[in-house]
Amino acid sequence: MKLKVFRYDGESGESRYDSFEIESGPGMTVLSALFKIQEELDDSLAFRYSCRGAVCGSCGMLINKVPRLACRTQVEGLLRGEGQVKLRPFPGMEETVDWDPEREVLVEPLPNLAKIKDLIVDMDKFFEFYRAVEPTFKPASEAPEKERLMDQEAVSELEKCTNCVLCASCVGACPISGKTEREGKEERGGEGETKEFLGPAALAKLYRFHIDPREVEDDSRLMLANDKRGWWGCEFNANCKAVCPKSVPPILGIGKARREIQKLGKEPE
């Protein structure tokens, strides 16, 4: 089989696709195939990696036009046509090159984030949006001597969001993320912040703090994203939920947040 890999040189701005002939075997993941290329064929290929066990979130990339973690994506499964995901149109879906899905695996960087080198994208913007939702636990009360009590049901509900590994696959799949210059941007102080949609991962993180029973039960977390950059930017394409390697459902949180805001009569415009 062949791995067709997007190559990009940030210095010259040039890009191309390279095809590498690989002998695949059972259990070979896209990440292990990339390492094979690095070790045996071309040591200049660049991609991020760390845990190789789908927990660290380093290796999110566009594989056969779907954002996935390279480490948990089996090459042979792809060739057999398994694990196909139906997605609404998003920038990564555009046909960029011919490829034969029965014999080739197409590997490209995540869309919606600036390219740096080959499969490595600039994650600064992603983490800027993460910071924008103030992702720090703000307890409602002074710290007790022991732990704050929680129901396991509440824990299970929170886990749906805390399972996020911040791999940015959802942002890569989102038809709204990456679109610039949206309307309704004039308010919100002059800190020079981006007006772009914060994206599913950041909003899932924000929602996780909103529903944490140990935090103040008010609308302060909801109001942090009460605009088009936040809850109201989502158009419920649901690509985020479909591609999440950890089954995090950002759109469910976004929908619930909107309904709560509507109940309070605080929706913008």
Partner: protein
């Protein structure tokens, strides 16, 4: 100031404290130093959230007594000491176990979402070698949850800083480098700066001969040099205290549960700065790693009631640890599995089975959802329907940089904590659930020790001219080394050499060891090491040149391999994870002591002043440094040394 200077072409960053490594230890330490008002930099070769701590599954030990009343720190300490095969220092163990409940409660207060009991308190599960169910957990994603929480805490501090600095003027971000700055100046003292995707190439010391006046006499660690992966530029760092929190060296072995980034960089950096390593021969092989990829299958799977089965469908642990069965400590279970396989009772002569089916779907889904996903993703097995194929694999490094209970090394200003260090709390075998505990307890204590030693903050002016000179000298030395490596166009291929090393280590210094075989292994190791001088890479790019980083990591792996090998050969006994077929018994008379390994001689970089006579790269591989082994007594305590039966 606290900014950068670019004289002589190298950016130099000045901070009070530099922490290398952004896993649990590094981040916990950073919280402490930032809160103490210190200007703190965290340097990591990956984004902090990609650190290997994120992969910890099963949990963190603390005698909370939630799951069963009556647990105490003393019981926890006893289990830890017994688990260590009496090699742990008992005062250090006491420190860790006493601090454990407070550390876990603090994590909960930071926002970690732990799994809960019916009554809402933190849940606990039994783990190997523990008398009580005392392992607190967040399903089977405990490391992930704690690491994200600690990072969130630091981001909170960073955001507060930048709010504070907005008043005093906008800070300019330097584009093209991956550092994210909190603020230039923060009124409320502490400051955090992350240098992500920066690879540390060396530590910088000053010595007596620098002729500088100051409060300290003698040698001192004053900084480090780094390569920025994004553009291959060399950066100098100057500090008043430096903490190594770089994790373990699992990637020295072919079969390892560790992340691919775990190349033991910190131990090599320390060794080359003349600092001793301790107990390096004690390498933990985890009994249950997924056959094929060796991804960890948590001990929690057995803690929840999972069985180990051989090809006769027997729970073979009855023959090895009849009382504890599957929940005997890791060294014992790993050896038992290996023996079953070696004696033909495994499957394909490679693995045994971990059966969870009797736990039922609900329990598996609630307590072990991550394990189920891993088994399905990486082995095509759903543990609700089928048993999981498992085999032992390298998991943890008990040994590490020699430190005292205050986490300081013998080199003033240099600290080490977490897996890269050896306090020692794990001795010859670590208990499951004690490594996460070590990271947060000793990370915090390291931060406190550093803060205490630097009782006032004075970034910028605090840097003496001698320090800067030392940093600059080291930078040009490192620059030469990198250039020499890049200039080589033929020779030995990096990947092949690394593979050979990893295979050799697993084969000759694996689960079972034997004197003659190890001698042979060391000989081969030294032969491989000598070839490192000829290593070349084809990639000459400046942007994300990962081949270059692998080649630099490989030098460190050779340093560590030799320490492991020499320590293992010299220790003529079996204790904990160090199991010798030629010396099957523990020998307290001769070996109830820590192995100390260091490099001595001209190459040990004892001198800072003046140009080295040889070119730096010639030092590599054919070192004049003489490896020296010494022994240090174990600090015993209230628990008498006894035979270890489970």
């Amino acid at each position: 100031m606290g900014g950068e200077e670019t004289e002589s072409g190298y950016p130099i960053h000045i901070h009070d404290v530099i922490i290398i490594g952004a896993g649990l230890t590094g981040l916990r330490a950073a919280i402490e130093t930032v809160d103490a008002g210190l200007d703190t930099a965290v340097i990591s070769k990956v984004h902090p959230l990609r650190s290997h701590s994120v992969a910890a599954q099963g949990g963190i030990n603390a005698a909370l007594g939630n799951a069963r009343a009556g647990d105490s720190w003393e019981d926890h300490a006893f289990d830890t000491v017994k688990g260590s095969d009496y090699l742990a220092d008992q005062d250090a163990v006491e420190l860790m176990c006493k601090n454990a409940p407070g550390a876990v409660i603090e994590l909960e207060h930071f926002g970690t979402v732990f799994s809960r009991l019916q009554d809402g308190r933190i849940a606990q599960r039994p783990f190997g070698g523990g008398m009580f169910p005392r392992t607190c957990y967040a399903a089977d994603r405990t490391g992930h949850n704690i690491l994200h929480t600690l990072y969130e805490q630091l981001i909170g501090r960073e955001l507060e800083q930048s709010k504070g600095s907005e008043v005093s003027g906008a800070s300019e971000e330097s584009k093209g480098s991956k550092e994210s700055k909190g603020s230039e100046e923060s009124k409320s003292g502490g400051k955090i700066t992350f240098y992500e995707e920066f690879f540390v190439t060396s530590l910088v010391k000053t010595g007596i001969s620098s002729g500088e006046k100051g409060p300290e006499q003698g040698e001192r660690c004053v900084g480090c040099t780094c390569i920025n992966l994004a553009d291959r530029t060399l950066h100098g760092f100057s500090c008043r205290a430096l903490l190594l929190a770089t994790g373990g060296f699992g990637r020295l072995f072919t079969r390892s549960t560790n992340a691919l980034i775990n190349t033991g960089d910190g131990a090599s950096l320390a060794l080359r700065a003349g600092v001793s390593l301790k107990d390096m021969e004690f390498v933990q092989f985890h009994p249950t790693t997924l056959y094929g990829t060796n991804i960890l299958i948590t001990e929690g799977a057995r803690g929840e009631g999972g069985y180990l089965l051989n090809n006769k469908n027997e729970r073979f642990m009855k023959d090895y640890a009849p009382k504890s069965m599957e929940l005997a400590p890791r060294d014992i279970v790993a050896r038992s599995i290996q023996q079953e396989v070696d004696e033909g009772r495994g499957f394909d002569d490679k693995y045994v089975l971990l059966d969870l089916r009797h736990l039922g779907k609900d329990k598996i889904m609630e307590r072990l959802p991550g394990i189920r996903l891993i088994s399905m993703d990486f082995a095509g097995v759903d543990p609700i329907e089928e048993p999981i194929p498992v085999q032992p694999g390298q998991h943890y490094s008990m040994g590490g940089i020699a430190v005292g209970n205050d986490l300081e090394t013998e080199l003033p200003g240099l600290y080490a904590a977490g897996e890269c260090s050896c306090v020692s709390v794990h001795g010859a075998n670590r208990l499951g659930g004690n490594s996460l505990l070590e990271t947060v307890v000793f990370g915090k204590l390291a931060g406190q020790a550093i803060s205490k030693s630097l009782s006032f903050s004075s970034a910028g002016e605090g840097v003496r001219s001698g320090d800067k000179k030392a940093v600059l000298e080291k930078l040009s030395e490192e620059d030469e080394r990198v250039k020499a490596l890049l200039a080589r166009d033929s020779g030995v291929k990096m990947a092949g050499l690394r593979d050979e090393l990893k295979k050799l280590m697993f084969e000759y210094f694996g689960v079972f060891r034997e004197g003659k075989k190890m001698e042979e292994g060391l000989e081969k190791l030294l032969e491989l090491k000598s070839r490192y001088t000829e290593v070349y890479i084809e990639n000459k790019s400046a942007v994300f040149n990962q081949a270059l980083i692998y080649a630099l990591e490989l030098r460190g792996l050779f340093d560590i391999a030799e320490a492991v090998a020499r320590g293992a050969i010299a220790r003529k006994e079996s204790r904990g994870s160090h199991a010798r077929t030629d010396y099957p018994d523990r020998d307290d008379e001769n070996f109830l002591s820590h192995t100390i390994y260091r490099l001595e001689g001209p190459g040990a970089e004892r001198k800072i002043e003046g140009k080295p006579e040889r070119k730096p790269e010639e030092k590599v591989g054919k070192p004049e440094e003489k490896p020296v082994l010494e022994y240090q007594p174990v600090r015993l305590g209230k628990f008498p040394v006894k035979e270890r039966v489970y």
